[in-house]
């Protein structure tokens, strides 16, 4: 099996687990909705302020919900020695990394579709200007986020190390938060021509973390 084939096998396993159990989405989707309502309540009902804050709050909700999503994705691996099985499987460790990251990325994209719809409805954000640019922003942001999260997701497996995970993920993912929020702001503001460099930045982040992740993931899961 090629690296891609192996990664797809791991990803499809994770997605199958999620589709059958829906353990992740059952907690993560309501959580992100709760966050958005809390953001709205904390800023007051003024439409102008809400609209101005919407892109940043959107990505903040995605980031916080992602922390929860990674917990769910790796929690299942901690049960019945599933992770040991995965690590001992005769496949490339880089494939395990890519597979887990792709599965979480797929999950996050579903989550983001819901969050974007909610933000559009509740904060009055207009989405129609450039759907392709908006989709590219979320796709590129999600890849980087999923890669960082999957690399350190093993930390959530044990109760002692679980709480450090957000402390690592949130600062490391600041480029996703900033570039994602700025690109979204430009797209919904109709200034699509300026979005290119932000997408480039997200792409550079993706290449860096996916590349480093493939190189070092074997060291993370070694025992």
């Amino acid at each position: 099996m090629t690296l891609i084939g192996q990664a797809l096998a791991v990803a499809s396993k994770d997605i199958r687990v999620e589709v059958r159990g829906r353990h992740g989405m059952a907690a993560v989707l309501p959580f992100s909705a709760t966050l958005l309502i809390a953001f709205g309540l904390s800023l007051g009902p003024g439409r102008a302020l809400l609209l101005q804050a919407a892109p940043g709050l959107l990505w903040l909700a995605v980031l916080f919900a992602a922390v929860l999503a990674f917990r769910q994705a790796y929690h299942a691996e901690g049960e019945d020695g599933a992770l040991e099985g995965l690590v001992l499987a005769p496949i490339d460790k880089a494939a395990v990394f890519l597979g887990k990251a792709s599965a979480v990325a797929a999950l996050l994209l579903v989550l983001e579709a819901v969050v974007v719809t909610l933000v559009a409805a509740m904060f009055g954000m207009h989405l129609g200007h450039a759907p392709a640019a908006l989709a590219a922003t979320f796709l590129l942001g999600t890849i980087g986020l999923a890669a960082v999260g999957s690399l350190f997701g093993v930390l959530v497996e044990s109760a002692r190390t679980r709480d450090v995970f957000p402390l690592l993920l949130l600062p490391l993912a600041t480029p996703v938060l900033m570039a994602g929020a700025k690109a979204t702001e430009l797209v919904v503001g109709g200034r699509t021509s300026e979005v290119g460099s932000w997408l480039g930045l997200l792409g550079a982040f993706d290449v860096a973390v996916v590349g480093v992740g493939m190189l070092v993931f074997g060291h993370v899961v070694e025992d």
């Binding site: 690399l151 930390l155 402390l167 480029p175 700025k182 993370v220």
Partner: protein, 250 residues
């Protein structure tokens, strides 16, 4: 790699440790005299300019320390020798200390000059994110129960964190305003020779202090590992490295 290990061994000998300590105190004293007495007050900022002689060297040492963490982390994953892990740990602790110092000294400087403790300037923001990333690194170092796992996880964080920093910096620069250069709130001060000397000796002094901290922390790290290894193993008297590497493997 072997020659790097020899250099490390030479630096960490007890005699070099004492020499570094003496040099650090002397350099700090020279830096204090130059920056407080010899160098003139700045035309615009007056005596506030003297903060530059500690703030800028602290920032330099912070970045140097994290670069050392990166190199040592890569070296650990490649060679799996415990000494590289100890070097990464020692350098990260110094790095966090000097990063925090940079931010505090910078804030003290910014309040009278810029009129605020904090602005979302690219360098400030990057430094704050940097501090958070390496606080996360130190938190990871405190967690896993097995020394081998701790070293591997920490090395991965040390590598990813360092790769992340330029991207963070670039994103904050653009985030401030894509089409304008980073805001310059103060002009470049006219540098007199005495000011240049004060800054140069400041760099030297902080670098030597960093090396001294590093060497001290390495010795403490070796002692910690020895205590741990002897507690774990009934075979007292074996070289610590062997015991630890066995522990890491098993």
């Amino acid at each position: 790699m072997a020659s790097a290990e020899r250099i490390m061994a030479a630096f960490t000998a007890r005699r070099s440790e004492r020499a570094l300590g003496v040099l650090a105190v002397a350099a700090l004293a020279a830096s204090a005299v130059l920056s407080l007495v010899v160098s003139p007050p700045d035309a615009e900022q007056g005596n506030l300019i003297r903060l530059m002689y500690v703030h800028v060297p602290a920032a330099w040492v912070a970045y140097l320390a994290f670069a050392v963490v990166f190199v040592a982390s890569v070296a650990y994953l490649v060679t799996r020798k415990t000494r590289w892990d100890r070097l990464a740990a020692a350098s990260a602790e110094s790095g966090v200390l000097f990063t925090a110092m940079t931010i505090v000294l910078g804030s003290i400087w910014a309040k009278p000059v810029w009129g605020t403790w904090w602005t979302w300037d690219p360098r400030l923001t990057t430094t704050a994110v940097l501090l958070l990333i390496y606080l996360g690194y130190l938190a990871v170092r405190h967690l896993p129960d097995s020394p081998g796992r701790r070293a591997r996880w920490a090395a991965v964080v040390g590598i990813v964190g360092f790769v992340d920093v330029p991207i963070v910096h670039l994103s904050v620069r653009w985030w401030r305003g894509l089409h304008q250069a980073p805001a310059r709130l103060i002009g470049v001060p006219d540098v007199s020779p005495a000011m240049g000397a004060a800054l140069g000796v400041g760099f030297l002094a902080f670098t030597v202090v960093y090396l001294y901290f590093l060497v001290l922390r390495l010795r403490v790290g070796r002692l910690e590992d020895r205590v741990m290894a002897e507690a774990l193993s009934p075979r007292i008297g074996q070289p610590v490295e062997t015991l630890l590497e066995e522990a890491a493997r098993g």
